[in-house]
């Protein structure tokens, strides 16, 4: 590991000033991803600015009836919060589905959004990777890619975003708030992650030097009946091979509102807007759910070894929406 300077920030302005625009400085939250990447040499910062003590560790109701979640709230505190569990149960479930109890106690909301892909070529500094070393190539396209992207990828990178939390936040139209030396800013999560294209090393639309200060969730009554379902290769403590955050509002047998976001299928959490369009106004039932999944997955471009994800996501959509409909009927 490269030697580094360490500073502890006590307020947001101080943290932003300490980071400046130095490309060799990183903010340190829980460290569960950054410290690991520093050990493997993927990240080689010259300075860390520790932001864990910033006063950004609250979950509060907004006047409109949504929630404001501070950037340094731990995953554990987010999932345990009564209003998260009451108003956005799929968000609590998504966070609980990720990592282990130890890591959820350490990891923060801001860091969760900015965590890096677990693609084995990205994390192995002896291999080429366009995300880590632009222009060096993507061995995953011809190599080990059974857990790589089926949607929105390019020849330059087929890695998936590993977050569970961000999938649920995407389904509920979360907005990311940040602070820069020039003042505060905000980005809808839908615009936060950049398309892969030929620049997979550029992952977010955050301006240089920005500090994520929190995430807001607009009020979403539909989210009160929502679920997160994660499929993985063992029962616990593994990254998803496919996941779904879904919410459904059915009245008189007709879908009034629906929210769907897919995880582990793209370089970012994948809002399934085409599926939602099919669902809203349709007669509730397995036929509509399957048609919705097919509408979204029509754009899928699977690789030789990850075609199973198309079926997996289709099955997930039908199963979870059926469960939500059944729950509503009770």
């Amino acid at each position: 590991m490269r030697e580094f300077d360490y500073q502890r920030a006590h307020d947001v302005a101080g943290a932003v000033a300490l980071l400046g625009t130095d490309p060799d400085t990183r903010f340190l939250g829980g460290g569960t991803n950054l410290v690991d990447l520093m050990k493997s040499g993927v990240e080689r910062p010259a300075r860390l600015v520790d932001i864990r003590e910033l006063p950004l560790d609250d979950v509060e109701s907004t006047p409109e009836g949504g929630l404001r979640i501070g950037a340094t709230v731990t995953n554990a505190d987010l999932a345990a919060h009564p209003e998260v569990r009451r108003r956005y149960p799929a968000l609590a479930q998504a966070v609980l589905a990720g990592a282990s109890g130890q890591l959820r106690n350490m990891a923060t909301v801001g860091g969760n959004l900015l965590q890096r892909t677990r693609c084995g070529y990205f994390t192995d500094v002896t291999r080429p990777c366009n995300k880590r070393l632009p222009g060096s190539g993507c061995p995953a396209v011809q190599g080990e890619h059974h857990n790589h992207a089926i949607l929105g990828a390019s020849d330059h990178c087929v890695a998936v975003h590993p977050s569970d939390m961000a999938v649920a936040l995407t389904a509920f139209d979360a907005v990311v708030h940040f602070e820069t030396a020039d003042g505060p800013g905000r980005l809808p999560l839908a615009d936060f992650y950049l398309p892969v294209g030929d620049t997979p090393h550029r992952e977010t639309a955050l301006p240089p030097g920005a500090l994520i200060t929190g995430v807001t969730l607009p009020p979403a009554p539909v989210a009160a009946r929502s679920r997160y379902r994660k499929v993985r290769e063992r029962a616990s403590y593994a990254f998803a091979i496919g996941s779904l955050a879904a919410a459904l509002d059915i009245r008189d047998g007709v879908v009034r509102d629906a929210r769907l976001a897919f995880g582990a299928v793209a370089s970012r959490p994948w809002r399934a807007l085409a599926a939602e369009r099919v669902l809203v106004g349709a007669a509730a039932g397995a036929e509509a759910y399957a048609a919705a999944a097919d509408a979204e997955l029509a754009a899928a471009r699977p690789l030789p070894h990850n075609g199973y994800k198309v079926d997996l996501m289709r099955n997930l959509v039908v199963a979870v929406l059926s469960e939500l409909a059944e729950e509503a009927a009770r």
């Binding site: 864990r52 999932a79 990592a99 890591l103 029962a235 403590y237």
Partner: protein, 197 residues
Amino acid sequence: MRKKQLMALSTSSVITLKINGEKHTLPVDHRTTLLDALRERLDLTGTKKGCDQGQCGACTVLLDGRRSVACLQLAVTAEGREITTIEGVADGERLHPVQQAFLELDGYQCGYCTPGQICAAIGVIEEHAAGWPSAVTEDVRPEAGPPDLTAEEIRERMSGNLCRCGAYVSIVEAVARAAQTRQDAATALPDAEEAVA
């Protein structure tokens, strides 16, 4: 407090760590993890190094009462926090109820993962007592109330701790017994207070 020159890049600091109620002041290279500081610098070798990348749980300690992996925690970031290691969980000669349960129910074979398992279990039992749901909790809404600490719940909540000997069956039983001990003590306590009042 950390001493360093203002503005100049410094790659080490003198830090004070509060471990098991005792303060230790030591200079550390910033790259030092809490795990290495405990084991290599302070001779607190009860905390074990397994994978060193946050995947096995052998290095689990309690930070401000919450279970955390010491291998991904830089020592310099732990300054100002209450660190509890396996050496600090017993009350003098009296074992912690989780230690006692692991001993009585053979919650281990070789013992290498055991300090991490015990620290994790202490955290799990507190998290459950605080009403936290888990990934296997059917209904996470607060109105549903806290889930029973079933074997399934224990397995999910303890999934961050690997045991290569495969002592999981006994580990689950030990965690369940220790949780029951805690619950019995908690329900007995109000009566005791009433009796005193």
